[in-house]
């Protein structure tokens, strides 16, 4: 018991920080793929697909991530799958991120000006061609700043994976604290590390937004 914070503890925290980044990347890629499908499903010509995806988004956005994590952790175990904390956290975060990114991206796709859709149709492009060649390239530009902004949320939300025993930054802080018992100092260090990961992303997102704003005003009719 006792002792002082030394280089080994900091190394351990650093390792946790790397896992936080790893889990964030998993959630971003997994959530991005599923979210893209959700975004397309939300504007599908089929009513049943639209309703099903809207229900999915409403359910996930109405449930705390903490409860989704518990459901993933205990739920997968209940169907008899032995899952590691990493798999449970990765799967839960993917489902969570997909609902939010899906909604963000749907908004971006729909904010591509109407004449672009009509012009593509007028040129006799098929639905797929219209999406791939006309709408999505423009939607990606609009979607970049809010997506980078949401990455901050993802990094912060991975801290909840600590409750299912995944050793990321938060959990490694708790472990170090268990041996030193200096909670305030240790959680302050943890907060600084999270800040160092999130703030650059926040600034980048703001800069992208401003740059977009400039591009927009240039495009406005004189």
């Amino acid at each position: 018991m006792g002792g002082h914070l030394n280089i080994n503890h900091l190394m351990f925290l650093g390792q946790g920080a790397l896992w936080t980044i790893g889990l964030s990347v998993i959630a971003l890629i997994g959530g991005g793929i599923v979210g893209f499908v959700i975004a397309l499903a939300r504007i599908s010509p089929l009513k049943s697909v639209r309703i099903a995806s809207a229900v999915y988004v409403q359910l996930i956005q109405g449930t705390p991530l903490l409860v989704i994590l518990f459901l993933g952790y205990f739920g997968l175990a209940a169907i008899g799958l032995k899952v590691s904390p990493l798999a449970a956290a990765g799967a839960s975060l993917t489902l969570y991120v997909a609902a939010y990114l899906g909604e963000i991206w749907r908004g971006c796709i729909q904010s591509v000006p109407k004449p672009q859709w009509e012009a593509a149709e007028g040129l006799a492009l098929s639905r797929t061609q219209r999406m791939l060649k006309v709408i999505l390239p423009q939607a990606i530009r609009i979607a970049t700043p809010p997506t980078v902004g949401f990455m901050v949320q993802i990094v912060k939300n991975t801290s909840l994976a600590s409750v299912v025993g995944f050793v990321e930054l938060m959990r490694s802080g708790q472990i170090v604290n268990n041996s030193l018992f200096e909670p305030f100092a240790i959680y302050a260090i943890i907060a600084v590390i999270y800040f160092a990961m999130c703030y650059p992303l926040s600034l980048f997102s703001q800069r992208l937004e401003r740059r977009m704003g400039r591009g927009r005003s240039n495009l406005a009719p004189a």
């Binding site: 109405g62 705390p64 903490l66 459901l71 739920g75 912060k156 305030f184 907060a191 800040f195």
Partner: protein, 227 residues
Amino acid sequence: MSLQLDFPAVLERWPSFLAGAVLTLELAAFATVLGALLGTLAAVGRGTHNALISGACKVYVETIRNTPLLVQIFLVYFGLASLGLKFSAFTVAVAALTINVGAYTAEIMRAGFEAIPRGQIEAAEGLALSRLQIYWHIILLPAIEKVYPALTSQFVLLMLASSVCSQISAEELTAVANYIQSDTYRAFETYIIVAVLYVILSLVMRAGFWGLGLVLFPRRRRLGTPL
């Protein structure tokens, strides 16, 4: 192995679930009211010409928005304890959630303030309204009206985020669920019920804010602009 669900075994604890849901709403209500006040103050502070005040408000907003709520809760919890101050877990939870949502509210309110046309303030000055009158009628209320939808979704997110307070054993819905699942060994069923309850709570909150908006901003209803 097949999945066998036994909902009745968990559902017979419904009084505990209900009490937990009420506690979560209470927690969210306290933090919403206090956080709205704190956030508005921080937004006003950020707009002042005093570099010290606006700098402090900026540091507060950016620090909170770029660190996880879980870390903030632990910092408040152990920070107060290390100062020798003893509070109930519920009070600490309200304090941490207030500090958290205050920063997000400040950003939303700032956007609202910036959207107020300069000419309206000049017109109010021309009509010899007092500074206080201008702040209240020309700046604050129209700003709230403009950002009302963003504010309400932030407050619903706060209610969902309050589940994290179970980690400092504050009494609320998720803490109740943790207790029931460790008592019944029916984790999956318990968390499904809790998830459904949270979805209902968020729908109730949204409906409540929608109704409140109709009462607060009758002009919107007349103009037919959706809240």
